[in-house]
Amino acid sequence: MEQYLIAFITGLTTGGLSCLAVQGGLLASSLANQIERDLAEIPPTPSKKNKRIARPVRPNAALPILLFLAAKLTAYTLLGALLGWLGSFLTFDPITRAGLMIVIAIFMVGNGLRMLNVHPFFRNFVIEPPRFVTRAIRKTAKGTDTATPLFLGALTVFIPCGVTQAMMAAALGLGAPLPAALLMFAFTLGTSPVFFFVAYFAAQIGATLEKHFMRFVAVVILFLGLVTFDNALNLLGAPSFSGLFATRQVATAPVEASDTLTLRAENGGYTPARLTAKAGVPVTLNIVTENTTSCARDFVIPALKYYVLLPVSGTETMQIPPQPAGTTLRFTCSMGMYSGLITFE
């Protein structure tokens, strides 16, 4: 249950903004009928250089947005089921997952820089729908106001944002259709309030404020991209910013080297974040969980290619082969979010 709550909160906090940046265009299209009607009702305003025409208030914007979101929710739930089904045939080792996260991180950073108009090169990070799709969208838009947002909402499934892609990878990792469908449902439901409010109020606030808001979204996406990249580094066992922070945090409290270590995998990460083990002898690592439901349960030591899914509550014991003095082993969760170090002395 907790994983669905986490997915919902992820959608509510970061997913909504990230998806809005990537899929906002389709949502705008679903409002296009209304925009065009409004524009037709007002005299044309000569546009200033690099400025869009300020959009008029659209009091009827709520219905198309809700239809768009309902279609999006349905499409992503079905996608989740499909991914879960496909995932039952695949296994995702930490290295593959890290590779996927790096690709996602590059995509997110590229999109953030594109939205900030840093250089036209970053426009290459955008997935432009093929012409037959845009034509189909326009043909639909000519029909009724109801069909358009429904169709466009379903189309968002073809342009998932970085956070959504990460969630899709998680759904794939679940390896079963129903939990994967529920995960995507919870996440997409979480993104919906942000979509609704931003889209609804963007229709009221006009172009200038909208531009400022999209810049804010760009900065958030840029930040999330860097965090994703950092998580991928953790997962590869490579030096990372968060790993450096964890090391510094405990540097003031040195622990005597031991051949038996106890590590607590908690919902908020691993405690202690730095362990000291005896060099040159086999070391026993006891990993203790107590109502742990976060990704800290997926415990990885990349250098040893060790991966285990810990029980929600209990103790998992692993034997670390003798390591020379000065060796540092990084451990992390399978998402690269929580990490720590074992130093051999």
Binding site: G24, G25, L26, A28, S29, A32, L39, P44, P46, S47, K49, N50, K51, R52, I53, P120, R123, N124, V126, I127, E128, P129, R131, T134, I137, R138, A141, K142, M214
Partner: protein, 74 residues
């Protein structure tokens, strides 16, 4: 039939390309419009006996976009 390519100054997302392409549904005499957000341009193929360039420019402006430059018969 004439073909012109317009550099558009303020395309901000792929949706802008879709909005610009929708001009072909509204303006008689337009054979086809291909707009690209990545290139920041739109190519219009039109029958000059049915529609003038100023009609096209007005339609682009009404959509909220600014033409930066024009290349003829690309």
């Amino acid at each position: 039939m004439k073909t012109k390519t317009y550099q558009i100054a303020n395309m901000e997302c792929p949706n802008c390309a879709m909005i610009l392409e929708s001009i072909e549904d509204k303006l008689p005499g337009i054979h086809s419009i291909r707009a690209s957000y990545k290139k920041g341009e739109m190519t219009v193929e039109y029958d000059e006996t049915q529609v003038s360039e100023s009609d096209i420019l007005t339609a682009i402006e009404r959509k909220g976009y600014t033409v930066h430059s024009t290349n003829e018969d690309k």
